[in-house]
Symmetry: C2
Amino acid sequence: MSAEFGFDIRARDGAARRGVLSTAHGAIDTPAFMPVGTAATVKAMLPESVASTGAQIILGNTYHLMLRPGAERIAAQGGLHRFMNWPSPILTDSGGFQVMSLAALREIDESGVVFRSHLDGSQHRLTPERSIEIQHLLDADITMAFDECTPFPATEDAAQSSMALSMRWAARSRGAFRKRPGYGIFGIVQGGVHPALRQISAAALRDIGFDGYAVGGLAVGEGQETMFRILDETVPALPAERPRYLMGVGKPADLIGAVARGIDMFDCVLPTRSGRTAQAFTSSGTINLRNARHADDQGPLDPACACPACKSYSRAYLHHLCRCGEILASMLLTWHNLHYYGGLMRALRAAIEAGALGDFVAGFHDAQARGRAAA
Amino acid sequence: MSAEFGFDIRARDGAARRGVLSTAHGAIDTPAFMPVGTAATVKAMLPESVASTGAQIILGNTYHLMLRPGAERIAAQGGLHRFMNWPSPILTDSGGFQVMSLAALREIDESGVVFRSHLDGSQHRLTPERSIEIQHLLDADITMAFDECTPFPATEDAAQSSMALSMRWAARSRGAFRKRPGYGIFGIVQGGVHPALRQISAAALRDIGFDGYAVGGLAVGEGQETMFRILDETVPALPAERPRYLMGVGKPADLIGAVARGIDMFDCVLPTRSGRTAQAFTSSGTINLRNARHADDQGPLDPACACPACKSYSRAYLHHLCRCGEILASMLLTWHNLHYYGGLMRALRAAIEAGALGDFVAGFHDAQARGRAAA
């Protein structure tokens, strides 16, 4: 439990990398998808079921956990791993994104942000130093620098000043981080959809020096094409030997395109949230199980899938559960979706190792197109 | 999968019996508790997890399943066992109780009942013949006669005429039941809290002849003392060699008292519903996990329990999940509660086999009293 924090790139295919990230709580094969465990639970899943989908690391939310049950409380329970019975690595976000998207009455100044809880209106303060302290209390293997997530759309001036503030906060975050064997801190590139700002941000982070580099402020409405363009221009500015994490992304096609551009890590609520709204990811596209056409379908959700939802139940049964709003619908579809994402990442890693990523990407898009044609 | 339907009493202790009920889909050790799987799912549980708690039979609801997804649809899917991935025995209720408690605009006459669905207001008709047909379509191992559940309180006159109607419906139910190897039908004793009516009802059912006998119309507000008094007077009027089922019961102390009075089978939503409202059953009483006193408690829910909720999580974590309304709270507490009920039935069977039921009952009440004193 005290391995050095490190990143070992085992294979490359174009810009894509197949690596192993070592942390205090275990190793992570990359490219990796991190299921989101907002409130110390990946919703509707037992932790051992999450692991069975191939997930080796999950994400926890500083904002939610500082409000409930409280970071000091989790520390007194032995940290987040022990609290939620997830013995494997955990990455925590810094709280910056949720303060912007969830909290009320935010006031930002140079020192940090004061906000009111979306739960009970109570007032709280987050600074780079406090965010890093919270993530330390949670015992996160990977701590994220505290930043301001630039809104989209933003003028270049607004994006510039927001990014500059995030870079000053990044330096303070790095300074507040207490280095321990197996633990690391990532900086976050900001700069909106403005390539020049992204370059400045990446250079600022390189100067500070981090264990890994995240690309933030994307997947906020700019569209896949713009996102890929920003990645094309930003990723080469990041240190080649460090892991790269695209925050809050995304759909399967987003992950594939980002892996091809050199991204190693992802997190997104999409597979878990979709599992609670009757949406299932399959090799031939997304399926809405509330649709009446599944009501008498004795076939499995995805014949190509070996998850419990696909092995033991019919589409008709899953449709029934969704229509009834049964908890088991959320349990089975979340499991399926995480299994799908886990399988996708495994396939991407294998394709990179085989130097066959191009074929894999083409095959993926062919299957999705055939699925759309058949739907 | 074609065993003869039968009941074998292996041991007795006073009025209590330890038996084995054989059905088309397997054997059931009695006394047995049947988790309720209303809409073709025991809420918040995978079926294999239900089985892991010791449950060998579950209950399905004719009323809910006829409305959604429909009995013919389940039959086309190969029956309820296959539809919901529960390969073990299933008992279905007749729909009578839910028509009274859930449906709108009920009109009862000699032939049956017309009602409007609580889901969409659509009009439906249930007769003894249609109820038995639905249960046949569901492939229930144990079919229940269609009855009118007498409201409580009811005058003796009202209870008498309701009981008499249920007995005429019981004869029609028996006539409509298609006997197959391993499948059986139970009659239901009615008569409210009036011992004389219970005697008349029991005699009427004996004359018709059933594979098992249920006591209905209890646990509707009459209180434990009255319920036990009715059992004391009713159970001896039931055929000794047939299984006896107390419907809709109950709390752990209710089950223990009823087993001591010769009841073999139970069903109740209490362990599953309580699991979704932060209530946990333990050897020392019921615990409300929303209570703030658990917020920092690193101990397990019940040190004496080996279920996943108790083995891998603290009270503080379960408290946190309950406060957040997380699905995992329902999953873990339902699992715990069914594990508790499964363990209670296993202990009752062992006590009967050992001729030590009296000691077991005394020990149970002592532990609960100690728990109350410590709370």
